[in-house]
């Protein structure tokens, strides 16, 4: 499962990435969680508000800082 966090400009985005890494670890995902900071690339995902979360190329959250539990739930939803 490929998990990407978008945005690295503010505290919220950084925290969102940390939470995603933790959630991926909790769910036993070995692929490293990637972070995209480049604005142009973020926009090409269709996202205009960060932090955002992408799982398997699908944008699952935009403009919100998610908690570890919330990200775990999103991952589990996709795993099934």
């Amino acid at each position: 499962m490929k998990i990407v966090t978008l945005g690295n400009c503010c505290k919220k985005s950084k925290l969102n990435h940390i939470n995603a890494v933790q959630a991926a670890k909790n769910c036993g995902i070995e692929e490293p969680v990637q972070n995209v900071a480049d604005m142009s690339q973020i926009v090409s995902y269709g996202v205009m508000s960060t932090p955002a979360l992408v799982i398997d190329d699908k944008v699952v959250s935009t403009g919100r800082l998610l908690t570890v539990q919330q990200i775990e739930a999103l991952i589990k939803e996709r795993q099934q």
């Binding site: 400009c9 503010c10 919220k12 604005m39 142009s40 973020i42 926009v43 090409s44 995902y45 269709g46 996202v47 205009m48 508000s49 960060t50 944008v59 699952v60 959250s61 935009t62 403009g63 919100r64 800082l65």
Partner: protein
Amino acid sequence: MQNDNNTTNNEPQQLQTQHSNDGTQTAPKWSTKRKVLLGVAIFVGVIAVAIGIAAIVDGTNGIVALGDFVTKQILGMQWLDTLLGMAMTALFGQQFASSTWGKAIQFFVYDTIKIIVLLCVLIFAVSYIQSYFPPERTKKILSRFHGIGANMMGALLGTVTPFCSCSSIPLFMGFTRAGLSSGVTFSFLISSPLVDLGAFLLLVSVFGIPVAISYVVVGLLLAVIGGTIIEKTGVGNNVREFITQGTINDIDQPDMTRRDRAVYAKDQMLSTLRKVWIYILVGVAIGASIHNFVPQQWIEAVLGEDKWYSVLIASVVGVPMYADIFGTIPVAEALFAKGVGLGTILSFMMSVTALSLPSMIMLSKAIKPKLLIWFVVIVTAGIIAIGYIFNAIYFLFI
């Protein structure tokens, strides 16, 4: 339609089976839409009943008195001012409470509490509404409109789309790549910091409903006209190359439950509070000192209604300043009490919130200097024009 009918027909049956199966009463499952409708109906009903009672008791005067009560006591929290005055008198004696310092302290405490309480309630409510209009969705809505209608929608959505100066670049890229015209993007960018729901309610509490509505209307007009000028003159094409190069996908907006929205609204409220409390304190402190220490003559000499240059000074001083609208209002409130013209005050508030050095620096990364200069010139000119117009027709509102 058919589906709707089916559900309504099925509901009683389901209820009955549940009832007979386990013997417990379960609440009927209402669709979210109906719940929202019911909520709105109750809300409107309560307001209608209140207005009705007021009208029966005292005719038109009753309705005016009710409006006054809502403005002054609920939104304006004047009861708090009265209570604070009583507390000051009880604690420090009549003499101190009615001295300049006593009044300044009372104004400071009252205004700080009032603005912070209103800010929390308003930001929470507004963020909840905003969670329905993320920029990604706004972009999609806007691409359906053309011409001046698109500018109006841009200005309107600017008031409800959550947006801060640090997201102006991705927003710019997103809008441009999605094929939205520069005019629409700028209508959005002008109205976004200028007019928002929270500021509107705060204005109601300080200046009353007519002034608040006129602020919103002229703010939106400025956004529509400014955006149109930027597009029609062609200066709007002066954006940096990387903005237009590349693509953008439409995404399905991720689902949010009502709980998610409430959490989002709470986070938004806390982070806004953390960000703006210092502006509020500074704003209220300036307001309190204008209120009580700065002699009336000084203010009248510089910003007095009869001085033709008052609007110019207010606008030019306000442009490079950066403050949240919530920090600007106490200053405006104090100036207003000192007899400064309404137009001058509107110009000051608008120039402080719409244009600021940090937002210009951010924008300069996305647009070329020529467009940036035009943007600043058009918005400043518009704000000055609004000031003069309001000073001229001032008597209609007060």
